[in-house]
């Protein structure tokens, strides 16, 4: 497809070029830095860039390569969602509250990428404290969808999503509490994986809703995601919810045939609320899977409709407590003037948090309050177990579940900002996997025409059983061997030589 630019190459191709010294890490990194310089002012995918630090890492990677001490991602530039603490980097979580915060320590996954010799390209934009589905709640401004600049990239990992889609990085990290990797992957047309809860350590990842948050890869292909998972996943004793399992090779099953694979289609995922144009793309993708030998099974996830109300009790409850530490006392934003302690708290938090964060803190505080706890929080926990049980039943009948990752293609900036419930419905197909702790991914499955005649990407969601990521990646990879949706690049950001 391209001869001169490495930007659309897979991670393994880049790794081979680096190790064969056909390109240096510094050259590769500079290529992406140049693209960032060219496109970031319009796309706004990155919050923090530090060429000095980035190029120093690239140089160190080149030294490693010269010494023959390489790992698969050595020398490859990766964008990090600004939710991960990275020592010496501004780490804002998309909030004014942390606009002045320089992390003094590394998140677990940052340590893992450093150990692998990967290069930190910069910190990507995101909805404030990962609360949002359009990246419009970021204190640092919205992010443009590279397929259509007047549309949103999805959220909350909108910066990473735009960076991957616009080839402003080789791959990126994201986090997914209710769909924040998969919905933007669908809206921006790339491959994103939310692993099983507990597969990737949360240490150093700024908490939104602790029992739901999970970090995962955002990349061009399933194969790239597998290589990213090899670095990111694994037990970490600093996270009590990290599962103590043996390190696994997520690429091991990529090439298995899909003959006899049982694919469950939940009827609730194809009901009212799904855009017809999106539904058509998903149906075509399912047809492709049939050709690959998959067997289709009709299933039901009867409590799907409860997932959003349950999520909007539990996630804000945890968030209201998790965000209490931002009080202006030790770090972060503190109001310039205040009369006493209470006034300092009130003003610092009123100024430091945006409207959506405040909304969720208020909801969370309310549902945990004396007299409401049983009716909201406890009841939601009970329903959460029912939702998880739905999946247990479903996986008795199938190996993976498929459906849309989002109900629509990318919507226009500003379209839903004043209607939080409409915004929350963006995650209708993704939230229940977070509630159940299951892994889910979105892969490019084609394009749908918008009302105003723009061709926009559509993601197919694949949900697997607990710790079945290798199988899911195999299912995705085989599809990507017979389709090229994942290789499509947005016209708006094509390099000159390709145009």
């Amino acid at each position: 497809m391209m001869n001169s630019s490495p930007i659309n190459l897979s991670l393994s191709q880049l790794g081979e070029m680096l190790q064969a010294k056909k390109i240096s890490s510094v050259e590769l990194t500079q290529t992406f830095l140049d693209r960032i310089q060219q496109y970031n002012p319009s796309i706004n995918a990155y919050i923090a860039l530090d060429e000095g630090k980035t190029l120093a890492q690239a140089k160190a990677a080149d030294a490693r390569i010269a010494a023959g001490n390489t790992a698969p991602l050595t020398g490859i530039p990766i964008a990090q969602k600004d939710i991960f603490c990275a020592k010496g980097w501004q780490t804002t979580c998309g909030s004014k509250m942390l606009a002045n915060f320089i992390a003094p320590y590394d998140a677990h996954i940052i340590t893992q990428f450093d150990a692998a010799g990967a290069v930190n390209l910069g910190k990507t934009n995101m909805d404030e404290f990962a609360m949002g589905s359009s990246n419009e709640t970021s204190y640092f401004g919205g992010v443009k969808n590279p397929w259509s600049f007047d549309r949103v990239p999805g959220g909350s990992s909108g910066g990473s999503a735009a960076a991957v889609a616009a080839r402003l990085c080789a791959a990126a990290t994201g986090t997914d509490t209710g769909g924040s990797i998969r919905q933007p992957a669908s809206l921006c047309g790339f491959t994103g994986l939310k692993p099983t809860y507990g597969a990737v350590s949360r240490f150093g990842m700024i908490a939104f809703a602790s029992s739901l948050d999970q970090a995962g890869p955002m990349a061009k292909s399933a194969e790239d995601c597998a290589l990213m998972m090899n670095v990111m996943a694994g037990f970490d004793e600093r996270d009590s919810t990290s599962l103590n399992r043996e390190k696994e090779d997520y690429t091991r099953d990529l090439n298995l045939p899909l003959q006899g694979l049982k694919v469950g289609l939940p009827k609730e995922y194809f009901a009212e609320g799904l855009d017809a144009s999106v539904g058509k793309v998903i149906e075509a993708a399912i047809a492709e899977y049939k050709k690959l030998g998959a067997e289709i099974v009709d299933i039901s996830l009867p409590n799907t409709g409860l997932s959003i109300p349950v999520y909007y009790v539990l996630a804000p409850a945890e968030a209201s407590s998790n965000l209490s530490r931002y009080d202006g006392v030790r770090y972060g934003h503190r109001a310039a003037e205040y009369t006493d302690l209470m006034d300092m708290y009130n003003k610092s938090r009123a100024e430091g948090f945006g409207a959506e964060v405040k909304r969720r803190i208020l909801i969370g505080t309310y549902v945990l309050s004396a007299g409401y706890y049983d009716a909201y929080y406890l009841k939601a926990q009970q329903i959460r177990r029912l939702i998880a049980q739905d999946f247990v039943e479903a996986f008795k009948k199938c190996d993976v579940i498929m459906g849309p990752a989002a109900p629509s293609t990318a919507f226009k900036a500003g379209e839903k900002v004043d209607d939080p419930v409409a915004m929350y419905l963006q995650d209708i197909y993704t939230i229940s996997t977070n509630l159940a702790g299951l892994p889910g991914m979105s892969i490019p499955a084609g394009f749908a025409q918008s009302d105003d005649g723009v061709s926009l990407p559509v993601g197919l969601q694949i949900i697997g059983n607990y710790f079945d990521e290798a199988r899911m990646l195999n299912v995705a990879h085989q599809y990507q061997q017979v389709t090229d949706w994942h290789e499509r690049m947005p016209e708006l950001v094509l390099p000159k030589e390709v145009k």
Partner: protein, 481 residues
């Protein structure tokens, strides 16, 4: 009307672990502010708690010591409130499912006349693990309050009683017993000045003979037994007077002012926080198996009650002595070491609780720092037992030992305190005394018993106090018969 006071205690015991309950930071007391505040202590964005197993072992130890139900599954919960010394904006504690459930502590309450006591069982409702907050420091910086987070995350076991106590004396007896127990099993250093053992006391009053509990007020953070007595007595009087004057008691948290001896309301129930407890999603439920309990049980020292019973059976000590010797593990260990080194048990008990205790008390020294160790004391007592020295001489040797003047035998030799037990030599002295005091001999023979004692006295005097008095008696009796 006759009133009855009803008292329950909540005690925060700081656990003797090496590190904080949810991080690897040190908990050493007295370090420079914030030098023991790691990322977790400061509550930086993204940090997570990891439970310290040592703290769990301490909780299990306590549960075993009070014969309590130890929960096979307990849950850490967040207690949410804003305060500058609470870095996360919530304290990790246990709420609905604590690690230690119902248990009991038997206390000896001193009766009004000393040397007697009555026994009472205080029921423990629960004990739960939690983290301590930091400290606000006022005045270090002009016009500002400082925050020291060294203490933030220090492991605490909060021990809650039923409202079982009926007087300040009972409450203090319980607090003292608990204070001894947590040190005995090694889970707390018991240092009240440094805040390692802090009591909150719930006090209410009701007409004697009625069942319904009165409204309680909670006296916070009492860090001495003396203040506890004063505070409870003041609070009890205040509540009774208020009710007798036709007033009502409002539920409140009060502070005791040691300078005025009064309690004063800090906040009323209306101002109380809604803590919005919920299970901490960062921590898994704490699971304790039978094997975990067995492993801790194997490290448990003999408990005071068992040791007391053993002292009575093995050493034929009185219940009073056995109880007194088991008020602290160090004292009991010292006593046992003395007996093990060959001293008589009853004599050891008398010396340990008598002369030694008085001397230690006067010098404000704990038994663990005693200048005279158990082996030295045993040697001294053996020298009384084998008639080398008299009881009186032993007291002089004790003083010299205290002042590190050498070994027991060296001191006896240096001070010439050895008793004369050579019967030939004593006979010679007695012969001289009899010859020189013929009149007394005659008086004795005429039936005057007193004359015998006078002759003994003369013999002792002639030996310069060194003759063995029992031998003098025997030989004199023979000579006069």
């Amino acid at each position: 009307m006759e009133w009855e006071v009803v008292i329950g205690l909540e005690t925060h015991t700081q656990l003797r672990t090496n590190t904080k309950i949810f991080s690897g930071a040190s908990i050493k007391y007295g370090a420079e502010p914030n030098t023991q505040a790691c990322e977790v202590s400061i509550a930086l964005p993204g940090v997570l708690p990891v439970l310290n197993k040592e703290a769990v072992q301490c909780a299990i130890k306590f549960g075993l010591a009070i014969n309590a139900h130890i929960a096979p599954r307990s849950v850490f919960a967040r207690k949410n409130y804003f305060y500058p010394d609470l870095p996360k904006g919530y304290q990790i504690s246990q709420f609905e499912l604590p690690v230690v459930g119902k248990g009991a502590v038997t206390i000896q309450v001193p009766a009004v006349g000393k040397n007697s006591a009555y026994e009472k069982v205080v029921n423990i409702t629960r004990a739960h693990l939690e983290e301590d907050a930091g400290k606000s420091v006022h005045g270090a910086v002009e016009g500002m309050s400082g925050i020291d987070l060294n203490r933030a995350g220090t492991p605490l076991l909060e021990i809650v009683t039923e409202p079982d106590m009926r007087s300040a004396a009972e409450a203090v007896a319980y607090a003292k017993k608990l204070h001894e127990l947590v040190q005995w099993i090694g889970i707390c250093d018991g240092n009240m000045q440094e805040g390692s053992f802090r009591c909150d006391v719930n006090v209410s009053v009701r007409p004697k003979g009625t069942e319904k509990l009165g409204t309680r007020r909670e006296i916070k953070n009492l860090n001495s037994f003396k203040f506890m007595t004063q505070a409870i007595e003041y609070e009890t009087r205040w509540q009774i007077e208020t009710l007798e004057d036709g007033g009502t008691i409002q539920q409140a948290t009060v502070l005791f002012n040691p300078d005025t001896g009064e309690t004063r309301s800090m906040r009323s129930k209306e101002e109380a926080n809604d803590y919005r407890y919920f299970p901490d999603p960062d921590l898994l439920p704490l699971v304790i198996s039978e094997a975990d309990k067995d492993a801790v049980r194997a490290t448990m020292p003999e408990l005071p009650e068992a040791m007391k019973a053993r002292f009575e059976a093995e050493y034929a000590l009185s219940s009073y002595d056995s109880n007194a010797l088991t008020t602290s593990r160090d004292l009991a260990n010292y006593f046992v070491a003395t007996v093990d080194a060959g001293a008589d048990a009853k004599q050891s008990a008398n010396w340990v609780m008598g002369i030694l205790a008085a001397k230690l008390n006067a010098a404000d020294t704990s038994i663990i720092d005693s200048p005279i160790n158990a082996q030295q004391l045993a040697q001294l007592l053996r020298r009384i037992g084998d008639n080398t020295i008299s009881n009186n001489a032993a007291k002089q040797v004790f003083e010299a030992l205290w002042n590190a003047e050498g070994s027991v035998d060296d001191i006896i030799a240096a001070k010439g305190l050895k008793q004369e037990s050579d019967s030939g030599a004593i006979e010679a002295i007695i012969d001289e005394v009899l010859a020189a005091n013929a009149a007394m001999v005659d008086e004795f023979k005429a039936g005057k018993e007193k004359a015998f004692n006078a002759l003994v006295g003369q013999a002792m005097k002639a030996s310069k106090g060194k003759a063995n008095p029992a031998q003098v008696n025997d030989i004199l009796k023979k000579k006069l018969s």
